[in-house]
Amino acid sequence: MLVSQAARDEAVAEPARRWPRGVPGSRALVIVVLLLIAFFSAISGKPLDGLLLLLVAAALGWDARRPAQGPPAAGDLPAGPPVPAGPPVPAGTEAGWARPGEVARAAARASEANLPALLRASAWLLGGAAFAVVAGSFGRFSWPATIAVVGVGALVVLAGWRRPVRRQAVPGPLPRAGLLAWAALLAGAGLWELRALFSQPSLTATSYAHPTISALADPVLAGPPGRALVLAGWLLLGGYLVRR
């Protein structure tokens, strides 16, 4: 994540204004949402989900009330002006001054540098596939499946806690209408799922007339192949998110 020098200087010079001891609004909103999901998970017969969400909500609240010590990590600073991505400049060249031969040599060097990255990506993909197959072979809601999923989930959340895994340019101001459309879609999906949940005979008994997404997923997740596929998709989504 890239941050303008002005924003960084301002945050260092005036930590009290940038980093109040109270819980900021957006953080409070996230904590409230986490607490609500924790509550509904717990009363729906998923106490472990509820407990983990409760822990994360408490950790965020604790983090907000900690006195600021030194400049905050770059990932916690508000976004500065957008940084244009621009075309990549091959290593070893200076825009506007490279001779054609130098550009070709620099491109070749960049290609060689990408080889370890390709190997790393292949290793991650193979590891993820192995995890999906092994964890998918465990029964749903069994302790081995629980340990596998909780372990990976906790690792990813911890990885994202301190700083972004990969630095990326923050997009500039986004169109408000479009943001509202995405927010409305998310809220609508949540409300529709809640409507189905509360239309069931009880919170722990599924209903054919008002199926939740979980109930619709049951046939797919009944066998190891379906579970492995869904776990692979979950891992890919996690990999995508952690690189945002």
Binding site: T146, Y208, W234
Partner: protein
């Protein structure tokens, strides 16, 4: 249409709306940001990052953990 069909239709509409927003954001000049940009914007702070990642972790827990 019975209640089952109405519920499924609701999920289908939500899915199609998500696809439509994704297409508008990625391949047209409509004032709709791509989902990736929205997520990057949300995840520029620790709270946003942790919130999104916990949401993802919760999905796995919900479908597989006891």
């Amino acid at each position: 249409m019975n209640s089952h069909g109405v519920t499924l239709l609701g999920y289908l509409v939500i899915l199609l709306a998500a696809v439509l927003l994704g297409v508008l954001g990625r391949w047209t000049r409509a004032p709709v940001p791509p989902l990736g940009d929205v997520l990057r914007r949300i995840m520029r702070t620790r709270t946003g990052r942790v919130g999104v990642l916990v949401g993802w972790a919760w999905l796995g827990l919900h479908f597989f953990a006891r």
